[in-house]
Symmetry: C2
Subunit: 287 residues, 2 copies
C-alpha cells in the first residue's frame, strides 16, 4: 500500500486555488508566498488532516481549508528556518529558497503573511464556531513558544544536546505541528477530548518517526532525492538522531517508532487505512 496520493492531489488542487491578494500593490508578496507554498512535497500535514477526517467517516471537502492552513504554517516555518540568520539554506526541494529568489525582507514577510493567512483561513472555515475556534486554539498553541517557534529557538541556540533534549527539541519543532494536523481534524469533526487518546498517541509517535527518518536520510540520501545538499545537518553542526545514536541504532529507533505508531492506530475506532499508509510512507520514504 502506498502513500495516499489521492488526498495529496486534493490538497494540491485546493492550494492552487488560493490567492492572497488581488491588490496590484501586494501582487509580488502573493507571488512569493505561492512560490514557496506550491513548491511541491508530500503534503504530509494536510494529508494527515484529511486522513483523520476519513477515519471519522467524513467527506474531505469540509476539511480542505483546515488542511491548507496547516500546509501554509509548515511552509512559513520553512521559509523562516532557511533565512541567513537561521539555517542559511539556499536550496529547498531543489529550488532556490525564498530569500535567494526574492531577497531577505520579502522572505521574512512571505513567512509572516503565510502564518497570518493560515490563521485567517482556518478561522473562516464554515461550521460550528466552537469547533472551529478550538481548531484555531490548537493551531496557535502548536505554533507558539510551546511548539514550533520554541523548537526552532532551541534548535538555533542550544549546544551539546543530549538524547532527552534532542527529543524535546523535535517534539516542539516538528512534532507539535504533525500532532495538531490530526488534532484539528478531531476538533472540527466533533470528537470529544476524552476520545482522542489513541489518535494523539499515533500522531505523537509519527512526529518522532518523521524526525528520526529525516536525520537518517540526511546521511544516506542523495542531493537529488533530498532536494538539498546531502549531509547538511553535519555541516551545520547539528545534533541528530544519527550523530547521537549512530546510523544502525537510529534505524532501530525508527523501526520501534513505526511499530508503536501502528499499535496506537489499532486502538482507533474507525477506518484507519489512510493513516496507516502515511505512517508506512514516513517510515519507508527515500526523500
Amino acid at each position: 500500500m502506498s502513500y495516499p496520493d489521492d488526498l495529496r492531489e486534493a490538497v494540491d488542487h485546493h492550494l492552487e486555488t488560493i490567492h492572497f491578494s488581488s491588490d496590484p500593490a501586494t501582487a509580488g508578496l502573493d507571488e512569493s508566498m505561492r512560490y514557496s507554498l506550491l513548491a511541491g512535497g508530500k503534503r504530509i500535514r494536510p494529508v494527515l488532516c484529511l486522513a483523520t477526517a476519513r477515519s471519522l467517516g467524513d467527506e474531505i471537502e469540509p476539511y480542505l481549508d483546515l488542511a491548507a492552513s496547516l500546509e501554509m504554517v509548515h511552509t512559513y516555518s520553512l521559509v523562516h528556518d532557511d533565512l541567513p540568520a537561521m539555517d542559511d539554506d539556499d536550496l529547498r526541494r531543489g529550488q532556490p529558497t525564498s530569500h535567494i529568489k526574492y531577497g531577505e525582507a520579502v522572505a521574512i514577510l512571505a513567512g509572516d503573511g503565510l502564518f497570518a493567512e493560515a490563521v485567517r483561513l482556518m478561522a473562516a472555515t464554515e461550521g460550528d464556531p466552537a469547533r472551529v475556534l478550538e481548531a484555531v486554539q490548537l493551531l496557535a498553541s502548536a505554533t507558539g513558544v510551546e511548539g514550533m517557534v520554541g523548537g526552532q529557538y532551541v534548535d538555533v541556540t542550544a549546544t551539546g544536546l543530549d538524547r532527552d533534549r534532542l527529543r524535546h527539541l523535535h517534539s516542539l519543532k516538528t512534532g507539535r505541528l504533525i500532532r495538531v494536523s490530526v488534532e484539528t481534524a478531531l476538533a472540527y469533526g466533533g470528537v470529544a477530548a476524552s476520545e482522542r487518546g489513541p489518535y494523539q498517541q499515533f500522531a505523537a509517535e509519527l512526529g518522532i518517526l518523521f524526525q528520526i527518518v529525516d536525520d537518517i536520510l540526511d546521511v544516506t540520501g542523495t542531493d537529488v532525492e533530498l532536494g538539498k545538499p546531502q549531509g547538511s545537518d553535519e555541516r551545520h553542526g547539528k545534533v541528530t538522531y544519527v550523530s547521537l545514536y549512530g546510523l544502525q541504532e537510529a534505524k532501530s529507533l525508527a523501526s520501534q517508532s513505526h511499530s508503536q505508531a501502528l499499535s496506537a492506530l489499532a486502538s482507533v475506532d474507525g477506518e484507519t487505512d489512510y493513516l496507516r499508509r502515511i505512517a508506512d510512507y514516513i517510515y519507508m520514504r527515500e526523500q
Copy 2:
C-alpha cells in the same frame, strides 16, 4: 482632558502577568519576547480596545486578553520591521532593538512567537465562541496580506509613491491594526455588523491621523522624545506625508483628520469620552 492612563495602566499590569514559557529550554525566547513587549509606550491599540468596551457600557476586565493580544501583534510587527533586512533600526523607545540585544535569529523568532501567542491568547478568551472567533478572524485579516504584512511589503519594496499610494500603504500597514483594535471589541461585545459604521469611520480616520502625526514628529521631534534618531524617515529615503505635502500642509491634514474622527464619534451611541481623549492625544502628542 488627557490620555486615558487608567486604561493604559490596566494594559501594562495585564501584560506584566503574561509569561510565554515555563520550560527552561525556551526561557531565553520568553525573555526576548517580554523585553520588547514590556518596553513601554502608550499602548494605543489595546487602550482603544478597552475604550471601545467602555463605550459599550462594559467592564474592561473581560476584554484584557483581547487588548493584550493586539499589543503583542503590534510588538511583533515592530520587532520584524526593525530587522537589518527591513528598516535596520538599532533603537526603539530609547532601547536597543531585539536583534541588537538578542541577535537576528532570536529576534525573528521573538516576532513569530509573539504573533502565535497573540492568536492563542485571543482565541482562548472566555465567552461566546462565535464572537471570539469573529475577533480572531478580524485580527488575522488585519495582519495578513490585505493588512499589516501587505503594508510592510509595500513599504520595503515600493518606490516613487504618490499621495494615493502613500495613503494606501498606511491604511494597510498601520491603519488596519488600529481599526481592528476597535472592531475586535465590537465583535466580542456583540455589536451587530450593521451598527458598527460610526466606530469604523472613527477608527479609520484615527489610523490616518496617527500616521500623519508620526511623519510630522519624525521631522519636528527630538531624539529623546522619539526614542530613536530624529529624521530617520528622510535618511531611509521614505516617502512621508511631510515629504509629499510639506510640513504646513501635513499639519493641516492632521487637523482635518482629527476633526473627521471626532465627527464620526458624534454618531456613536455610547459613552465616547475615552475614545475622544485617545483621538486628542494622537493629534496633540509630542512623542
